[in-house]
C-alpha cells in the first residue's frame, strides 16, 4: 500500500463516506465521522513524516501512474521537504476545524464536514502534484468546497464574498492554465520533473520574452491566491464572511497554495524571468506588508483585521522567496507554516468569540480577559506569535526572511522591518480593545472561558507555536534541502537571461548573454 496515495485519497474516501451518512443522524454522526477520519488522516500523514528522509533533497515517495493517454497526463505525486510540512499543516488543521465547528455548525452539518474533507483532499493534492495538469486540477478542486463553505455557512455578505473569492481565483488561474498548455505544446509533457530535467540539460529553453510571459501567467495566478498587493481585496471579504473553519483553512493552508506555487513552480521553471522580476515583486511584497499592516490598523472588525494581517504576513513569504537567498527561502517556507499555525489560531479564537457574542466588531467587546482568562491567554500567546516575538514561531521565519532580504538588498529589509513594528501596533491595539478594559454587560453574560473541546482545538496550535519558535531545527532541516535544490535550479536553469528595463517592467525584453 502506497503511503502517499493513502494520505491523498483517505480524505476523498472520508468525503464520500460522509456523504453516505443518513440524514436522520446527520449532525452528530457526521461531525464525529469528520473528527475521527480527519484524525486518522493526520496520523497517516505523520507516517509520511516518519518515513521521509530529511537528508535527501530529492522528491520522495514518487508515485507515477499514467492517467490520460493523449495529452500525456500522469497521476504523478511525490513529496519534498516543503510540501511535506504543508501537507502536515493541512492534516493538522483539519481536525481542529472540525472541533471548532462542533457546535457552530448545526445546519446541513453533513455537507459541511463533507466539504471540509473534500477541501483537505484538494489541498493535499495541490502540494503533492508533480504533473502540471494534475496540479491545476487540484488547484481548482480546492476552489469548489471553499466556495460552498463560505457561501453556505458564512455570515451576512457571504454570497458576495464567496463569488468574489471564486472569480478572483478563477480569473488568475485561467492564465496559468494557458501557460501550462503552452508549456505542454512545447515539451509534450506535463511531468514537472521531466520539464525540469529538460531545462537542466538545456533541451528546453524558454526564450526571454516567452519566459517572461509564462512567468507572469503563473505569477498572477499565484499572486492572487497569496494574495499579493494589489490583488488582495478578495481576502478580507472572504475571511470576514467565512465560517471559522473556512477561515482557518483559507488562511492556514489555501493561501500557501499560492506561495508554494511561486516557490515550487515559478522559480525553477522560469528562473531568469523570476530573477528579472524579483525587484518588482519584492517591492510589491513590501508594499503588501506595510499596506496590509496599515489597513489592519484601522479595521473595526476582528476578522477583517486578521485578514489584512495575512496580507502582510504573506508579503513576508513572497519577499523571502524572491530574495533568492537560502535564508530568504527557508524563512519564506517557515513563514508559510508559521502563518498557518498562528493565523489559524487567531481565526480559531475569533471564531470562539463569535460563537459566544455573535459579533465580530471590536467595539462590541472589551474586558474579555476578566471573564475568560484562559481564552485571553491563548489569544495573547497567539498574538505574540503573530507579531513575531522571539521564542514563538513567527520570529524564526521573519528573521530568516528579513535576513535574506537584507542580503539581497538591504533597503528591502529596512522597509519590510517596518511591518514588524506595525504588526505590534495593530495586534496589540486590537488585543487591548477586545480583552482589556471594563467588562461590558453583554460580554460578562455571554463570554465564558474555554471549554475542553475548545482547549483541545487550541492547545495543539499553541504547542506548535512554542515548539516551532524554540526548536526550529526539527522543521527546517528537511526544508533546507529542498530550498537549496530550488535555489540551485534557479541558478542552473538559466541559459538565457531575462532583463527588464528599469523603467517599464512589461516592456521589451533584452537578450543578453
Amino acid at each position: 500500500m502506497n503511503l502517499l496515495l493513502t494520505v491523498l485519497f483517505l480524505p476523498l474516501a472520508a468525503f464520500i463516506l460522509a456523504l453516505a451518512i443518513p440524514r436522520s443522524t446527520e449532525e452528530r454522526a457526521s461531525r464525529l465521522w469528520a473528527l475521527v477520519s480527519s484524525l486518522g488522516i493526520f496520523v497517516a500523514s505523520l507516517g509520511l513524516l516518519a518515513y521521509f528522509n530529511p537528508a535527501l533533497s530529492s522528491e520522495q515517495f514518487v508515485t507515477d501512474v499514467p492517467w490520460i493517454g493523449t495529452p500525456n497526463i500522469h497521476f504523478a505525486i511525490s513529496v519534498n521537504g516543503v510540501s511535506l510540512w504543508l501537507i502536515l499543516l493541512s492534516t493538522f488543521l483539519t481536525p481542529i476545524c472540525v472541533l471548532v465547528s462542533w457546535n457552530a455548525i448545526k445546519d446541513r452539518a453533513k455537507e459541511f464536514y463533507a466539504f471540509l474533507l473534500l477541501l483537505e483532499f484538494g489541498l493535499i493534492g495541490v502540494f503533492l502534484a508533480q504533473d502540471l495538469f494534475l496540479f491545476y486540477v487540484f488547484w481548482e478542486v480546492c476552489l469548489v468546497p471553499m466556495y460552498f463553505l463560505i457561501g453556505i455557512w458564512g455570515h451576512g455578505r457571504r454570497i458576495y464574498a464567496a463569488v468574489k473569492f471564486f472569480l478572483f481565483t478563477m480569473a488568475g488561474s485561467v492564465l496559468m492554465l494557458a501557460a501550462i498548455i503552452f508549456i505542454y505544446n512545447k515539451t509534450a509533457t506535463f511531468s514537472y520533473p521531466a520539464i525540469l530535467s529538460m531545462l537542466a540539460s538545456g533541451r528546453l529553453v524558454f526564450p526571454p520574452q516567452e519566459q517572461l510571459i509564462l512567468f507572469l501567467a503563473f505569477f498572477v495566478a499565484f499572486a492572487i491566491k497569496v494574495p499579493l498587493f494589489p490583488l488582495h481585496t478578495w481576502l478580507p471579504d472572504a475571511h470576514v464572511e467565512a465560517p471559522t473553519a473556512g477561515s482557518i483553512m483559507l488562511a492556514g493552508v489555501m493561501l500557501k497554495m499560492g506561495t508554494y506555487g511561486l516557490f515550487h513552480f515559478c522559480l525553477p521553471l522560469f528562473p531568469s524571468a523570476a530573477r528579472a522580476c524579483a525587484p518588482w515583486i519584492c517591492i510589491l511584497a513590501i508594499i503588501g506588508i506595510i499596506y496590509g499592516s496599515l489597513v489592519a490598523l484601522v479595521q473595526p472588525n476582528m476578522k477583517k483585521l486578521v485578514a489584512y494581517t495575512s496580507v502582510a504576513h504573506l508579503g513576508f513569504v513572497v519577499l523571502g522567496i524572491f530574495t533568492f537567498t537560502q535564508p530568504g527561502l527557508d524563512g519564506a517556507v517557515y513563514q508559510m507554516l508559521n502563518h498557518g499555525v498562528s493565523t489559524g489560531a487567531l481565526f480559531l479564537i475569533v471564531g470562539i468569540l463569535y460563537e459566544r457574542r455573535h459579533s465580530l466588531e471590536i467595539s462590541d467587546y472589551g474586558g474579555v480577559a476578566t471573564v475568560a482568562p484562559w481564552l485571553s491567554t491563548a489569544f495573547l500567546i497567539t498574538t505574540l506569535a503573530s507579531i513575531g516575538l522571539p521564542t514563538l514561531n513567527n520570529f524564526v521565519g521573519e528573521f530568516l526572511v528579513l535576513q535574506g532580504a537584507a542580503i539581497a538588498n538591504f533597503s528591502w529589509a529596512v522597509w519590510a522591518s517596518l511591518g514588524v513594528i506595525l504588526s505590534a501596533c495593530y495586534m496589540l491595539w486590537m488585543y487591548q480593545r477586545v480583552f482589556y478594559g471594563e467588562t461590558a454587560h453583554e460580554v460578562r453574560a455571554h463570554v465564558p472561558d474555554l471549554s475542553p473541546r475548545e482547549w483541545a482545538a487550541i492547545l495543539p496550535l499553541i504547542v506548535m507555536m512554542v515548539w516551532m519558535g524554540i526548536y526550529s531545527q526539527s522543521f527546517l532541516a528537511p526544508v533546507g534541502k529542498t530550498t537549496a535544490l530550488v535555489l540551485d535550479q534557479t541558478t542552473k536553469n538559466v541559459p538565457t537571461r531575462v532583463q527588464l528595463p528599469v523603467h517599464n517592467p512589461s516592456a521589451e525584453v533584452a537578450h543578453v548573454r
Partner: protein, 624 residues
Amino acid sequence: MQLWLIPTFPLAGFLINGIFGRRFSKSLVNTVAIGSVLLSFLWVLKTVLALGDLNTAHLEHYFTWIQSGVPGGNHYINIGCDFAIDRLTVVMLFVVTGIGSLIHIYSIGYMAHEHGPNFGGYYRFFAYLNLFMFFMLVLVLGASYLLLFVGWEGVGLCSYLLIGFYFDKKFATTAGNKAFIVNRIGDFGFSLAMFYIFINFGSLDFDKVFHQAASAPEWVLTTIGLLLMVGACGKSAQIPLYIWLPDAMAGPTPVSALIHAATMVTAGVYMTARSWVIYTHAPGAMDVIAIVGIATAFMAATIGLAQTDIKKVFAYSTVSQLGYMFVGVGSGAFSAGVYHLMTHAFFKALLFLGAGSVIHALSGEQDMRNMGGLRKKIPITFWTMCCAWVAISGIPPFSGFFSKDAILLAAYQHSPAIYWIGVLTAGLTAFYVSRAMFMTFFGAYRGKAHPHESPAVMWVPLAILAALSLFGGMLFKIPEFLKASFPAEAEVENPMLMYISVAAGLSGIAIAYIMYLAKTGMADSLARTFSAPYRLIYNKYFVDEIYDATVVNPILGGSRIVLWKGIDSGVIDGLANGIASRCRDVGGILRLLQSGSIRSYASWILFGGVVLIVAMGLFGGLPR
C-alpha cells in the same frame, strides 16, 4: 556549569504559577515565585564562585536554534542556543537576580491586597515577574546578538504585561501598548543592525563578530553602531524614544522599580557595553550616543522639575540617569556606564520602592501635592529613601557619587561641553529629587488618607537597598572589576571636576530646600513668572502631542481614509467591481439586441451575412 539553570528557575516559576497559580494560596505563589528567583540568585553565586576569575568568557552550547544553509556555504546561518558568562555578565547577573529577589519579596507586601477587578491578579503578577526574570537573564546570558534579542523582546513583553497589569484601566493598557510599540521601533534598529552584522561578519555570535569587528571598515561599524543605538534608545528610553517610560508608571510600583529602573531599561547600556569592540572602532557612533545621552539626561531632568506625580518624577529621573549611562558608554567609559548602571539600580529601585511604600501607605495616592509631612508617619520609608536621595544627588561617598563622577570624568575628556551639561543636569537631579522628598516627607500633611507604615516584607528590602545605595559604590568597584573586559581607559584624576559636580548636587538640594521648605510660595511665583517655560516642561515639552500630531494620527487617518477606504475599497475593489459592472453593462447592451422581433433578428442575420461576404470576398479575410 549549567548556566541554563539560571534563567530556567524563574521560567519554571512562571509556568507553575501561570498555569496552576489560580488554585494556589498566596503563600504558595510566593514560595514558588520568590523561591525560583532566589534559587537562580544562588545558582549565579555558585557559578561565579566556581568559575573563578572569568577573564575569558565561559560559553555553553545547548542546541541549534535556527539553521539555514549548509556549513561553509553561502549565507550559512547557524544560531545556537548558547549562553556565555564573563565579568560584565556577572555584574548584570547579580544586579538582576539580586535586586530582582528583593523586589519580589517587597511585592509580597505591596501586592498583598491585590484581588482587584481582574482575575487572580496576585499570582498573575508574580508569574509575570518571574517571566521577566527569565527573559532578562536570557538577555544577559545570551552569547549572540539574536539570543540577546530574545531576552530583549521578552523583557519588552513582560514590561507590556506588567504596565498593563491593571488591564481594566484604559490608561494602563494604553501605556503598555505604547511601551511595546516604542520598544519595537527601537528593535527595528536593533534587528537591522543584526542583519547588517550578519551580512558583514557572517555570524551573530559575540565572539565571532567581535573577533572580526576590529578589522572591519569603519563605516560598516558606524552603521552597525548607530543601528544598535536605535535599539538601545528604545529599550533605555533615550531621545527620541523615551516617551514610553514615564507612561510605564501605570504599572504596579515594584514593576517600576524592577523593570523600569533597575534592570530592563539598562539593557541598552548593557548591549552597548557588550558591543564595545564595535563602538571603539566607530567613534562617530560613540559621539552620537554621547550626545543623545546628554540631551536625554538634560531634557528629562528639566521635565522632572515640574512633575507632581511622585512616580513620574522618578520616571523622568530614570530617563535622565539612563542618559548619563549613555554619556558614559558614549564617552568610551564603558565600565563607568556599567558602574552607574549598578548604582542606579540600587538607588533608583530604592526610590521607586520607597515611593511605592508611600503610595501604599496613602492607599494609592501618587500626587505629591496631596502628601507632605510623612517623615513622622512612615519613618522607615523616609529614612531609607533618604539614603537613595543622597546617593542620587551625588553626595560622596555614597554610591551615586562614584559612578556619576566616573562618567563625568570620562565625558570631560571626551568633550567638556558634555561635561558641563552633565554637571548642570546633576544639579537639576539633586533639585528635583530633593523637591520630591521635601514635598513628600516635610511640611504639613495635605492628604486625606491615613498613612500607615509598610509591613516588614516591604521595608526589609528597602533597608537592604538603602545599605547598597549608601555603600554599594564603595563595595563594588566595577571599573576595577571590569578592567580586563574593556579597553584600557586613560586613568585621569581631576579633583576639580569632582568638586564641581558635588557642588552642583549640593546646590540643587539647597535650592530645593529654599523653594519648597523655606519659602514655600516661591515655587509657585516662579512658575507664574516663567509661565511659558514652566508650562513647557510641565507638559513634557508636548512631545507626546507632537508625536500624535505628526506620526500617530496621520498614520491612523491616512490608513483609514486613504489606504482602506481609498485604495482598498475605492480603487482596487472599485476596479474589480467596476470591471464586474462594466461586464454587466456590456451584457445589458448586448441584451438590447434581443428585441424579440423576428424582423430585427433577420436584420442581424443579414447584417452578419453581409459583413462575412464583404470580409471574406473583398478583403480575403480579416487581418490576423
